[in-house]
Structures are given as C-alpha cells and as structure tokens.
Amino acid sequence: MDAVDPSGFAAPTFAAQERMVEAILFACDHPLSSTEIAARLPQGCDVPEVLVRLRQHYTGRGVELSRVGDKYALRTAPDLGWLMQAERVEQRKLSRAAIETLAIIAYHQPATRTEIEEIRGVAVSRGMLDQLLELGWVRLGRRRMTPGRPVTFVVTDAFLDHFGLESARDLPGLQELRAAGLLDSRPMPGLGGQNAPDTDEDDPVNGPESAPRGQSELFEE
C-alpha cells in the first residue's frame, strides 16, 4: 500500500511519515509548504496524503492543522484563546484608516494606491502602506498594465496566517460583495477612459466579465 521509491528503497509507512510530518510542523512556528516538508523527508513520501491524515488526526483537538495559502501550520484551536492569557502578544492597534486600507487591499487585490484612494475618498496617508508592509501583511504585486504602470499591493501569507484564513477566497463576505458588484471597478460616468476596467491578465475579481479568471489569477497562486 505504501509508496515505493523508484530507487528501490521502500518509502516509510504512512504511520512513520505522519510522525515525521507531525514532528516537523510541531517544531516550527511558521507555516511550511508541502514542498518544504517533502524536502526534509526521505524520498518517496506522499506529503499531501499525510497532511490529510494529520488534519483528521488533529480535528477536534486543542491543536489543529491549519492551512495558510499553500502552507500548513499547527495552531491552537481558536476557542481556547482564553486559556493563553500569558502567551497573548500585545496587538498593535491599527488606526481605522489603516484597517480600511488593509481591507481594501485584501478584497480588491491587486490594488493600486489610486484605487485605495478612490474607494476611501482621501489620500493614502504617509507611512500607512509602509506600516502594512512592515507588519508583513501586504506586499507588492505585479505592476498594473495601465498607463503609468502603477505598483499594486496584495496581501501576504502572513496576513492569512494572522487572521486564520486558508486563502484570500475565504475573506468574510467576499462572495456577497462580489455578487453585489461592490468589488467592480466602475468608472465615474463620463470619465470612461480614465478608469476603464483593466484588461490586464493581472486584474483580479474586478470587472464582472473577468470574474472566473480573476479568481484563479488571484487566489490560486
């Protein structure tokens, strides 16, 4: 039943593989991709399958296997947070403006600074993107293929990890917002050319017609 390494050595049993992956994830405080895990294991291991088993094993326990983007990490179950008063780290209090900007980037990604400003109706204040970058929750995406080729911002795996999201698709209310057209990029009537929806392959969920493709572009990377 267990996989056999082409070199002729039998791969470890699934039970043995599960022990190893468990130990690796347990020892590490940051998420690891299945490639990173596989690199540490003997040849012939079936990491995806082992991860499925491990997730089952930890279901309902005090510690859970959580998925972060395409990575995995062990995290304590969220309902037990109250037990960990001593481990609680002081959360930096973000300003309302910073939180809004973060949300706009997460829901509209990739988002340019101009788009953020359009949505909020005010200039992005100095140092705000800086801080979001420094927190590691936001990074630079591909430049937009529009005049000026503006820089774009996207959210990171660390953002997903912090908010316990498996992927950006799991952002609360994303489907409803998209269905309500609130994630479209609609130019001001009369200014058609200026804000014309991006035809660039980078374009995310924005633009009704590009929804299915945008989805895969944005979230499956």
Partner: protein, 257 residues
C-alpha cells in the same frame, strides 16, 4: 440654507457635524455620515437630498467661519452641479452622463465605502493569531548544522535605494556641473589680486578669464566672486562700496596685503 433644517434638533445635529469636521476622513466619509440621517438602505438613498445636506453643511461651516479643506469644496462644487443636473430637465443637445447616472455612481461609491468598512470590521473581529489562537510557543532547534541566514526585507531594499537616490538629489553642492565657478576658486583669485588693487575697482573686473561672456558662466562667476568679497571684507582684508541700489559694486584692498 439653515432654514431648511426641519427642526432644532436636526440643525443642532448638523452643527455638531460641522464642529467635528476634523473627525471626517474626507468628503466621502462625510457624505456617508449624512446619508445615515436618511435611515434607509444605501441603495435607496436620495442623492438629491444628500447633495442638499452636504451643501447645507458647507454653507453652515462658512457661517460659523470654519475653514474646510479644499477637497470638501471640490465635492461641494460637484454636488451643486449634480443637483442642477438632477433638477433641470435633460438638455438633449448636451453630451455626457445624465444626472441619474452620476447620482447612481455616487450612491454606489458610498455603498462600496460602507461595504469596505463593514468588511474591515468583520476582518478585525476574526480570530487573530497571538490573541485567539497561537503558534508553537517553543519552536525547537535541535540542529547540529549551523547556517547563517542573512536577512533583508523588501522595505530595507527600497529604503536603501531611496537613501542612495535622495542623497544624490539633495547633494548640497554640484561641482560636477561644468559652468560653476567655485567659491574657493573665487576666494583664491581675489586674495591673489587684492595686494595690487589699491584703487576702487569694479567687481566685474575680478572675474576669471573666460567667465565674463556666457550668461550662465558669468552669473556663477559673479555670484562666487561677490561671496568671496564678502568673506574677505569680513576678514578685514578689503573694503566694499556701492553708490546706490543696483549700482556696480566696487572694492579695494585694505593696506599692505
């Protein structure tokens, strides 16, 4: 405008809004706050009423002599235009979007901003790492091998580059430009010539050779020579005089060199 307020309470509420103008993050935020007084779904908000409320707000702010930032006034101008488009019958000869289209867009913008606010609140209400769930508290490092990992993040990289480039931008001198006559050169030349300058002589006679004709070179040479003469006057090595404003400057060496 203030007569439009239906009651004292509403008027008072409006004044509170004005006094709190610093509390608003721009005109869109203010419009969103005003729309709440309509107590309807944002999709059914009356943009005309909203425009009037906003214009009333700006009017009242003026009456109370409260300075509004420029973008509030830009929005006011746009809303006044929108109001006229909404009230007047459409002019068939005129191109461009209808008042209804513009109003619908504004309503959509407000709805989108509100949606993003709600989304932000829902995001922050999620379980968060380090507060509701936790990573391994004692990551293990049983390794035998030692590897040094050099760390640098994107922000470091961009800042390093910015620092390098702005260092160039703000470099306080620019000797590498060819048409600049340096102050030390002017000082050296003037000091050399002073002992033989016993009579009042026009400053322009001290310009170095080849710097008197081309305008940019001449300007630089005059400026540096003048600065040098001030420096030497301060040291007591020469006298300067000027008969009236904008008249030629004259200088002469002071005793014995």
């Amino acid at each position: 405008m203030s007569d439009d307020w239906d009651s004292v309470d509403e008027r008072r509420a409006a004044e509170e809004l004005i006094v709190d103008v610093d509390g608003f993050e721009g005109p869109l935020d203010l419009l969103l706050a005003l729309s709440r007084s309509q107590k309807v779904d944002l999709r059914r908000v009356s943009v005309l009423q909203l425009a009037e409320q906003y214009l009333g707000f700006v009017e009242d702010a003026r009456a109370l002599r409260i300075e509004l930032a420029a973008d509030y006034l830009v929005m006011a101008a746009w809303l006044a235009y929108l109001k006229s488009r909404l009230l007047l019958p459409p002019d068939p000869t005129e191109d461009g979007p209808s008042g209804e289209d513009l109003a619908a867009h504004l309503a959509w913008q407000l709805e989108r901003l509100q949606a993003m606010r709600d989304a932000a609140a829902r995001l922050m209400a999620r379980d968060q790492m380090g507060r509701d769930f936790f990573a391994r508290g004692q990551p293990e490092t049983i390794a035998v091998t030692r590897r040094t990992e050099l760390q640098a993040n994107l922000l470091d990289l961009m800042r390093a580059y910015a620092r390098l480039r702005t260092r160039d931008e703000f470099r306080p001198y620019a000797f590498d430009r060819s048409d600049i006559y340096a102050l030390d050169a002017a000082l050296a030349r003037l000091s050399q010539l002073l002992p033989i300058t016993l009579d009042w002589s026009d400053l322009s006679r001290f310009l170095p050779e080849g710097w008197g004709s081309a305008p940019t070179r001449r300007r630089s040479a005059i400026a540096s020579t003048f600065a040098a003469s001030l420096e030497l006057a301060k040291q007591g090595r020469l006298d300067l005089r000027q008969s009236e404003a904008f008249a030629p400057l004259h200088l002469r060496g002071r005793g014995g060199g």
